[in-house]
Structure formats: structure tokens, C-alpha cells
């Protein structure tokens, strides 16, 4: 959607690649992507309509908001209900329904909730409001976690006393491991996330690639990138190969971003984490280290949440594991819609249900 019209050359090359995919993918294949941005881009550009019917693209647990447990959502809302606390958050969390309410509803009743685009902005809000406590809701995988680590280090260096982070950050590799251990999962290949891979490196997928004999291809977010990634997956599958390939060379290297990893390592340590739908996965969460406990919202505040109530009938947990599609959920489109969502998969702009609801049919 740029000023210049699409050059016929580019369109022709896209046709070439979709044709090539079509030629190769003569048997049924199922690939999974585990990146919210991939989910969005596939729907937004109508990529499924360009792929052969034999080829199925499913979404895994790539949407950080969607995989946040109900209990963690309730805790986030509980922070906002505290006197003199400003909760700062990325936008997608605001409308996620907790057991009883949501951040948006809390805000409508007077809670202070501010949307930020960067954790650095949250710290800035803390500096501008010295009489308030500012809590940043840390959600996201390895692309976001280093930005939060840097922010914590800055808060520490500046001795900012009214800022803290509630970390529900998660990491990909143990998650993928847990996902593929599931005997019932039938996946022929993994489209690896673009920017998580920029941080952890393409080599992070080697272990699961070898252990589960799964082609793994790292691809970017433009539709051309995704199609290219799919092509490489199909090619590997057809040739009976299983290796890690990186076709997002402009952003991803084999080793990844050592600097970002070092900062994450300095501030966070691995812990077990509860995932919506996947239960507890060992070592899949990031907890703030003791050295920075003064910036850890879980230590600073006493948060009690009433008993978590899972939403009956909500299939979010199954959907993020590619065990079910939104259409399999009895609530989808009837009780659960983007304006009155039951689960996070319908709220988040990267959620599978939200994408299906909005783009459904031809997507």
C-alpha cells in the first residue's frame, strides 16, 4: 500500500513462487507458525488463498497475550485496582477478560491504565509521576524481554524508586519442545518467528529440529518472506530433509544477538511458567533475578487474587496448540466476538480467533 504501484515484475515473481509451491506440494502438508506477526501477516495479505489446498498453515502459541494464563491476567488487573498505582502496558492486554473484569473495565471505573509502545515510555511515566507507583506489565517473548531488561537496568542505574515490572515473559525453545513432545501434534514443519530468531539466533531451533526431525525455516514478515519460507519448508519436506534454514538473513544470524541475550541473562532467570492451554512448561518463563528484586512488582506488592475462573467453553488453550480451530469453539462468533470477547485469542490483534472472525471465509 505504498505510493508506487506494484511493479509487474514483483507480481510475476510472487506468481512464480506460488506456482513452485503448488508444483511441489502435491501431498497434504501441515506447517505451524509460532509468531503473532506471522499470523497477522498471513491473514492480512490473504496468503492462504495463494497456497494449494493440500497445504495447511496453522497457528501455534505465538501470540504472547493469548498464552498468558488466566491467573496472570487476574494479577495484572489486581495491580490496577491498587491505590496510587499506574499500570503501564502494551495495548493488547487492555481488553483481555480476566476472571471477573478487565483492565479496560477497571480503567472505566477509575483505575489508572496507560498504553505504551515501549517499556522505556513506562519508565518515563514513572519519572513524571513521582507520587505514584508505576507497574509495567512485561509480556512477550525473546524480542521484548531484552527491551524490558534494558529498562530495568536503566531504572536501577537511575535509582528510580516508583517503578517495577511484573514479568510474565516467556521463552520459545522449551515451549516448542513441549509442543512437539505432544504425540498428537501432526506438523510437517515449523515456520520460525522472525524477530525472536533475531535475538536467539537460528541455531536455537537445531535441537528440536534434530530431535523431532522437523524442518525449521526462519522467515520474515512481509508476504514475500512468508511465501519464501513456506517454499523452503515444502522443499525440505518433499526431499525428506529436516534442517534449520534461515531465509530472513537481513535480520537473523545463526548466533543471534549476543548483546541482547547477555542483557536478558543479567536481569532474568528461567523459571517454570504456566501457559494458557499448555499447562506448566519447565524453564519457559523469565523471572526477575534477586539482584533486581527491588524492581520486581511481585516482590514490591502484595497481590492476592480471588480464585481463578476459567471461562467455560473457551477453546483458546486448544487453539493455540493447533488442536482446534476457532470454528470448533461453540462460543466463537456467537457469545465470543471482538467486541465482547471471552478469551484472549479473540482480543489480541494477533490472536487466531480474532483473525478468523475478522478475515474468515476467504482467508
Amino acid at each position: 500500500m505504498k505510493n508506487q504501484p506494484e511493479s509487474p515484475k514483483m507480481v510475476e515473481e510472487i506468481l512464480q513462487i506460488t506456482h513452485a509451491i503448488g508444483e511441489l506440494a502435491t501431498m497434504p502438508m501441515r506447517f505451524m507458525e509460532v509468531c503473532g506477526t506471522h499470523t497477522m501477516s498471513i491473514f492480512r495479505h490473504g496468503l492462504r488463498s495463494l497456497l494449494p489446498k493440500t497445504l495447511e498453515l496453522v497457528s501455534g502459541p505465538g501470540c504472547p497475550v493469548c498464552v498468558t494464563s488466566q491467573e496472570d491476567i487476574d494479577r495484572m488487573i489486581a495491580f490496577s485496582l491498587k491505590e496510587d498505582v499506574i499500570v503501564t502496558t502494551f495495548g493488547d492486554l487492555v481488553r483481555v477478560p480476566g476472571s471477573r473484569t478487565s483492565l479496560a473495565k477497571a480503567r472505566a471505573s477509575g483505575a489508572m491504565v496507560e498504553i505504551v509502545y515501549s517499556p522505556a515510555s513506562a519508565l518515563e511515566i514513572a519519572r513524571q509521576n513521582p507520587d505514584k507507583q508505576v507497574v509495567f506489565l512485561g509480556v512477550g517473548f525473546e524480542t521484548t524481554a531484552p527491551t524490558v531488561a534494558a529498562t530495568i537496568l536503566e531504572a536501577d542505574a537511575r535509582d528510580i524508586r516508583n517503578f517495577s515490572v511484573f514479568s510474565t515473559h516467556k521463552v520459545m525453545p522449551p515451549t516448542l519442545d513441549a509442543l512437539f513432545r505432544d504425540q498428537e501434534l501432526e506438523i510437517d514443519g515449523l515456520l520460525c518467528p522472525g524477530h525472536v530468531s533475531a535475538i536467539i539466533g537460528a541455531r536455537a531451533y537445531e535441537k528440536i529440529c534434530q530431535e523431532f526431525d522437523i524442518p525449521c525455516v526462519v522467515a520474515g514478515f512481509e508476504p514475500e518472506d512468508i511465501l519464501r519460507g513456506v517454499y523452503h519448508l515444502v522443499h525440505q519436506k518433499v526431499k525428506g530433509e529436516a534442517r534449520v534454514e534461515n531465509v530472513y538473513e537481513r535480520a537473523v544470524t545463526w548466533e543471534g544477538n549476543q548483546n541482547a541475550c547477555a542483557l536478558m541473562e543479567k536481569v532474568f532467570e528461567k523459571r517454570d511458567a504456566r501457559w494458557r492451554g499448555l499447562g506448566t512448561i519447565k524453564g519457559s518463563g523469565l523471572a526477575i533475578r534477586d539482584d533486581f528484586s527491588h524492581l520486581n512488582a511481585e516482590r514490591r506488592f502484595d497481590i492476592t487474587v480471588p480464585e481463578t475462573r476459567e471461562k467455560k467453553g473457551c477453546l483458546c488453550g486448544e487453539i493455540i496448540r493447533a488442536r482446534a480451530l476457532p470454528l470448533d469453539c461453540s462460543l466463537f462468533g456467537r457469545v465470543c466476538t471482538p467486541t465482547s470477547p471471552v478469551g484472549p485469542c479473540m482480543v489480541s490483534s494477533e490472536g487466531t480467533c480474532s483473525a478468523y472472525y475478522r478475515y474468515g471465509g476467504h482467508a
Partner: protein, 90 residues
Amino acid sequence: MCLAIPMEVKEITGTPGNFLDPPVAQVEAQGTRAQVRLDIVDRMPEVGDFVIVHAGFAIHTLSREEAEKSLELFKDMAEVAKGPGDEKPA
């Protein structure tokens, strides 16, 4: 907020590793200007380099050549469509 477009570095201020005066780049892409932090980038960019941005932080630096090559992605695609490892046409 995963952005695909590499953004050009126009100006750099601050000091790497100094959280009291953090490294910041003024960047630009498609007529949009932004300010991004350089604390977590893999390689500290120079003016004229490009960066991939996420949540207000640069996560990867590319040289101008690499960024321009990426915009010629489509050329790669035509080669890929002929199959990896296949002979390129003369």
C-alpha cells in the same frame, strides 16, 4: 510490534552501556521519524546504517548495502523459485 522495515539511522546520541545517558538513534523510514534506543542492538550502528526496530529499541543493525539488498528481496524469490541447489540459468 514487529516491524519489517529497516529504518535509516540519521543521528546518534548518548553512550553505549551508560544507562544514565543511554545510546539513542534518530531513525527514519517512509517519511516517518522515530527515536529508538540502542541498548540491546547486536552491533552499534553508524549514521547511514539501518536498524530493525521493536518496542522502541533497535534489535539488529544492517549496513546500507544489506538494507538495500533486502528491498530487492523479490530478485531472490525468482532464484528460489527455480529451486535451491538447482543450476541457475545461464
